[in-house]
């Protein structure tokens, strides 16, 4: 959400796939947000706070930059 949302790509869908097809609901529970928020993040409609971004990375056991990639100038 916000003006910069289109410039941040994410690999949440692919990371979920490589984490044994983890469901959106399971990820949401691990991160502490609703499933709708995970859906919105995956579709690039919402850019999470830094804290949630770090929690997503921790849920997959990868560094933050592997989950979110800034595409701006």
């Amino acid at each position: 959400m916000g003006k910069g949302q289109a410039q941040i790509d994410n690999s949440v869908r692919s990371l979920r796939f490589h984490a044994g097809e983890m469901t959106q609901a399971a990820l949401a529970e691990k991160v502490g947000v609703t499933r709708q928020t995970i859906v919105a993040i995956e579709q690039g409609r919402y850019s999470p706070s830094l804290e949630v971004a770090f929690r997503i990375a921790k849920a997959f056991g990868v560094p933050l930059e592997q989950v979110f990639q800034y595409q701006g100038d």
């Binding site: 502490g32 609703t34 709708q36 919105a40 409609r45 919402y46 999470p48 706070s49 949630v52």
Partner: protein, 143 residues
């Protein structure tokens, strides 16, 4: 649709119904006290209707969605995205109410019938509610 989106949709329909009722002259019912106090009592009944509408429809929709989808429609605790959406919707509602309040003040300044002024204030509150519900529905869909 989630519980929160259904809730916003229910509120929009209720607000539209009340607006149509008022626009069709519901505020000119025969035998109703046309004083400011009488008008306020009538509008308080409208507020009561809105509350009952929201409760009854929320329960009905939860049951119907549960039957159709075979999944319980429950409200989840708010997370950061819900809070951001609520804040943005409140901002839009505040803007709508402010405009309505300003129009009401201007009408009072032009010595309009105070009873009409009460309806304008009520309309501003309805508009604020509508802006809030519609904004939440839109933000949940697009952002």
């Amino acid at each position: 649709m989630t519980f929160k989106q259904w809730n916003a949709a229910i509120m929009i329909v209720g607000q539209i119904l009340v607006t149509i009722w008022l626009a069709r002259g519901g505020w000119q019912l025969p035998g109703v006290d046309q004083s400011i106090a009488g008008t306020a009592v009538k509008l308080l009944w409208v507020v009561g209707f809105m509350i009952a509408w929201n409760i009854v429809l929320a329960i009905t929709i939860a049951i119907l969605v549960g039957i159709v989808t075979r999944r319980e429609l429950v409200d989840e605790p708010d997370d950061e995205r819900d809070r951001v959406i609520n804040l943005k919707a409140s901002r839009n509602a505040y803007f709508a109410v402010s405009i309505g309040g300003l129009i009401a003040l201007l009408l009072f300044a032009l010595k309009i019938d105070p009873i009409v002024g009460v309806y304008v204030v009520f309309g501003a509150l309805m508009l604020g509610g509508l802006a809030d519900s519609a904004s939440r529905l839109v933000y949940y869909r697009i952002g």
